[in-house]
């Protein structure tokens, strides 16, 4: 029954861009892309319980690595993509190694990831090789072999593919031994250690995976919008977005980030028209985030498994 629903949804996602106008194709692209970023957060924050407030550090490393290789060293962006992904994994491993070696847990880990993102942002804002606060512009050359897009359909399918890969990774985590060890660590770290799990090694591994995924998303973003700057790449907004979609959809579930992303994007599109209704508002764009802040509080307090738990009542992972 559930397999049938997933197959139907996949089919719908595949034919969707052939039926709707360009604007809705882009909305769909955003849904899958944010779901992919959310899933990268979910791997560490949901399955392994390592809440991060600074996941933008990986996103930014991915975006900057590929853009620097492409713009400053003439690499083809498709070739730069795996390098950027690997760099994200490397930074994830580095941050995890330092933080978990120092024994940081819970809130302290969340805060130190935020500080790491801030360090990267400040460096990117001042260093010459990132062009400082001006940001980096990628020269438009809209050919697919150049990782640039002329129609909204191509990035839609690429975002869908990324999202599917991330769903497979999450599915693998719910099935495999690695995922089971992560859940054990999330539920009770000391008990997991007593069972013989190498907690430190597993946590470094999961941050490597999560960082690599997130960095891959960073490259996609840079190539889609052809511009990045330190605040877009390393700012707290991206970190919060990834955390929010996952927490609202359901942390530690396969489909949580996708559900959260659909809800967030829907609220975004609905509140876009709110300006006419409430003329007192200076600008309406943050309205969706206010709604999301309220939802975050309600979800943490009342519905710790997110919206996913409303769809099918089953304990996660």
């Amino acid at each position: 029954m559930r397999n049938l629903a997933v197959a139907a949804a996949l089919l719908a996602a595949l034919v969707y861009p052939l039926l709707v106008p360009n604007y809705l194709i882009t909305v769909g692209m955003l849904i899958f892309f944010i779901a992919f970023l959310g899933q990268s957060w979910n791997v560490a924050g949901g399955f392994a319980g390592q809440t991060s407030f600074g996941h933008a550090v990986f996103f930014g490393v991915g975006a900057y690595t590929s853009t620097i290789l492409h713009v400053s060293h003439g690499w083809n962006p498709w070739l730069a993509w795996p390098v950027a992904t690997a760099m994200g994994g490397l930074v994830g491993a580095g941050i995890a190694f330092l933080s978990f070696r120092a024994g940081l847990r819970g809130s302290y880990f969340a805060l130190i990831t935020l500080a790491f993102a801030e360090v990267f942002r400040i460096v990117a804002n001042s260093a010459a090789f990132t062009r400082g606060g001006l940001g980096m512009l990628i020269k438009a050359d809209s050919r697919l072999e150049n990782f640039q897009f002329t129609t909204p359909i191509a990035p839609y399918y690429l975002a869908l593919a990324l999202c599917l890969v991330s769903l497979l990774i999450a599915w693998w985590l719910t099935r495999g031994r690695f995922g089971a060890r992560l859940v054990a660590i999330r539920e009770n770290e000391d008990a997991a250690r007593a069972l013989g799990i190498d907690v430190f090694a597993e946590k470094v591994k999961v941050l490597t995976l999560s960082g690599a995924m997130c960095a891959a998303g960073g490259t996609f973003y840079a190539q889609k919008y052809l511009y990045i700057d330190p605040t877009i790449a390393f700012g707290i907004d991206k970190s919060v977005e990834m955390l929010l979609v996952t927490m609202v959809g359901g942390a530690g579930t396969i489909f949580g980030p996708l559900i959260g992303s659909i809800v967030l994007t829907a609220i975004n599109e609905l509140t876009r028209n709110a300006a006419g209704v409430f003329p007192a508002l200076k600008n309406v764009q943050p309205l969706s985030l206010v709604v999301y802040g309220v939802m975050l509080i309600i979800i943490v307090a009342r519905l710790p498994d997110g919206f996913a738990s409303l769809l099918w009542r089953r304990r996660h992972a």
Binding site: F53, S107, L289
Partner: protein, 290 residues
């Protein structure tokens, strides 16, 4: 190498900024020491208090220093109610959960401010803004001197209140041993709400002292939250002396960092201190436990 006179001026300016940082950090460390929660909304609530000071000045012409009792009292009420209505209900589970709740509060505050006040940078023009005190080679802006002195006075008053009043003693009892405090008849939930209120009241006072020389935007909260956490972690979570020492240290670090590395790169010192303290000595300078 820079002229030692310039360095001295930088240190003095850093100390002046540090005075207000102390006040902000004392509020954060009080909340941590008593409730054992990390109040991620601290910066955002400071930002809201700064907007309150700005609008009191803009709409009613009230001088920021005159507004101090009003905004401080209002901030206490907001903190008390926020604790009773939202934070207190959920503050006893996993520590990440309460961190996420306060993150939710800060997201609502930041984006609410953007929604209603817009993204512009707002400042207050006070007639004494340009007044300068000459101290050797250092030129110190008068409002900064007043604000620093006032911040220190408020911290001392708060210290006396904690040491001598019945409420202060109850707060300290709850911070040390909440079960024991409950057993001797202290209403622990009430003390939690009062402590959170006092922590936020510190922000109200700090907002009044900041506004004559500073500006506010909806992003101000984020700028302050990392500074406040760095001070508290540097001094030791929950330690008052630590918050005081840490506040001045960070004020000077920021000022000297700006001199040596420039405005942009100078901010990196704070984040690096934060990371290094957490990695190497998570108890901080004066903390008793991790």
């Amino acid at each position: 190498m820079l002229d030692p006179q310039i360095i001295l001026a930088g240190v003095l300016n850093g100390l002046l900024a540090g005075g207000i940082y102390v006040l902000v950090a004392v509020g954060l460390t009080l909340i941590y020491g008593v409730l054992h929660i990390i109040n991620f909304a601290h910066g955002s609530l400071l930002m809201l208090a700064m907007y309150a000071v700005f609008f009191l000045w803009k709409l009613s012409g009230i001088d920021p220093y005159v507004a101090l009792p009003i905004v401080t009292g209002g901030a206490f009420a907001v903190g008390f109610v926020l604790y009773r209505a939202v934070i207190g209900r959920y503050s006893h589970g996993k520590d990440e959960n309460i961190l996420l709740i306060t993150l939710g509060v800060s997201i609502i505050a930041d984006n609410g401010a953007l929604l209603f006040f817009g993204g512009d940078t707002e400042t207050i023009d006070v007639p004494y803004a340009g007044k300068i005190i000459e101290l050797g080679a250092a030129f110190l802006p008068l409002p900064k001197v007043i604000s620093c002195a006032a911040a220190i006075a408020i911290c001392l008053a708060l210290g006396l209140f904690m040491a001598l009043s019945d409420t202060g003693k109850a707060i300290r009892a709850v911070a040390k041993e909440r079960q024991g405090a409950r057993l001797v008849g202290i209403d622990v939930e009430h003390i939690f709400a009062v402590s959170y209120g006092i922590g936020i009241a510190c922000l109200g006072a700090a907002a009044c002292l900041l506004m004559p020389t500073f500006y506010v935007t909806p992003q101000s909260g984020y700028a302050f939250v990392l500074v406040a956490f760095t001070i508290v972690v540097l001094g030791g979570m929950g330690s008052f002396v630590g918050a005081a020492v840490g506040g001045f240290l960070i004020g000077v670090t920021e000022s000297i960092g700006g001199l040596l590395l420039g405005e942009q790169l100078g901010q990196i010192g704070i984040s690096l201190i934060f990371i290094l303290i957490l990695l190497l000595k998570p108890t901080g300078l004066f903390g008793s436990r991790a």
